[in-house]
Symmetry: none
Subunit: 223 residues, 2 copies
């Protein structure tokens, strides 16, 4: 479930990204309005979270332009508290829901799920690869229906790879996502982690792309 996040405030962007990823979404985060518009125009998202005050191109214009071009994914707009004028404009521009800042992450997630569900796209929190199933709601991984017990770090690794299945994920990207303070490139923590996970998964789920990173793929998938 890919989500586009367009928000210029570095701090909020980071927090939201982290929270949404923890909730099982895959996030493309963008600070600049124009860049955000471009992504929304060219990529496919389940939904977008859009801040209105943006550099480059303001949020309302981004939204209007998407709608004018027929992009119909649901959009959740972040507004300053009490900015009713903005809301009204947003409605006209085609927003699906609003969230006044500041907000609780929990509420953002709930609303996002709501608009995704409403848009028909099922907000299914389950990702399946072969016989392995990841349930992001229960934060549980099952192989052939049998739950696998994973440590937090191990879970995050598998979840990240599965949510990005079909794509080679560089080690660096992994360590950045697994650690708040990502360790030096003198560390082989990721390799160790992958090893530990593999020992728990009888499957050859995680493939090594020597020199590039790791990838999770459908068994028959070609890539």
């Amino acid at each position: 479930m890919r989500i586009l996040l367009v928000e210029d405030d570095q701090r909020i962007r980071q927090d939201v990204t982290t929270a949404l990823e923890a909730a099982g979404f895959v996030i493309d985060a963008e600070a600049n309005g124009e860049e955000g518009w471009f992504l929304g125009d060219t990529e496919t998202y389940a939904a977008a979270v859009l801040d209105l005050g943006l550099p480059g191109m303001d949020g309302l214009s981004v939204l209007k332009r998407w709608r004018a071009e027929g992009r119909d994914f649901p959009v959740l707009v972040l507004t300053a508290r009490g900015a009713w004028a903005e809301r009204v404009e947003g409605i006209d521009a085609g927003a699906d829901d609003y969230l006044p800042k500041p907000f609780r992450m929990e509420e953002l997630i709930a609303r996002l799920r709501a608009i995704i569900r409403r848009s028909g796209g099922q907000a299914s929190p389950v990702v399946t690869v072969g016989e392995t199933e990841l349930d992001t709601r229960q934060m549980r991984l099952t192989v052939r229906g049998v739950p696998v017990s994973l440590s937090p770090q191990e879970y995050r690794l598998v979840a990240y790879l599965m949510l990005h299945k079909g794509r080679v994920v560089p080690q660096q990207e992994l360590s950045e996502h697994l650690q708040s303070v990502h360790f030096e490139r003198e560390s082989n923590a990721v390799e160790v982690l992958v090893g530990r996970v593999r020992r728990k998964l009888p499957t050859a789920l995680i493939e090594t792309r020597r020199g590039f990173g790791y990838i999770v793929n459908e068994p028959d998938g070609t890539s």
Copy 2:
């Protein structure tokens, strides 16, 4: 039996909340129309009591929006005395019953019970997980039919987890929901509370997901 109350008048909201709670309902009270709409859209209620004159989003719009999205819990609308036009609109919007202000609490409760009964066994007031049963109407928890005595705080914890069964609930979310605005990672209040509840429940009802939070699940883990 959870009821959503959307009413901007502080006084009425308080009175109704108190009366309904005394009558055995669990109330989510909300003053703002938009917030109320959101709750009705994302949570599960046995019924809603909806005032028409609301800030944020007026009651009729809230109701229409719920119905447009397929939310079909019964709605009792509060109208100003003699405002017949409102009633007609309400009918079209999908209200189930009306109550002109001012009203007696007994009448509100009676009508509420009526529309809930009429709506047929929907929105069961009871959540069951394995042999554990949570009766939100009586605010009682029973294990194999035997009532368990819980303190208010303990009840809230179990109720929240059971109402969100199948989902990992972070500790932070729990402490936010369990009352006051004090939530620091420097406190282990939630852990203590969970411990206390567990001692009273012979069941392995509440599972710990180390590093993530707690979850209540069906014993067979299907979802």
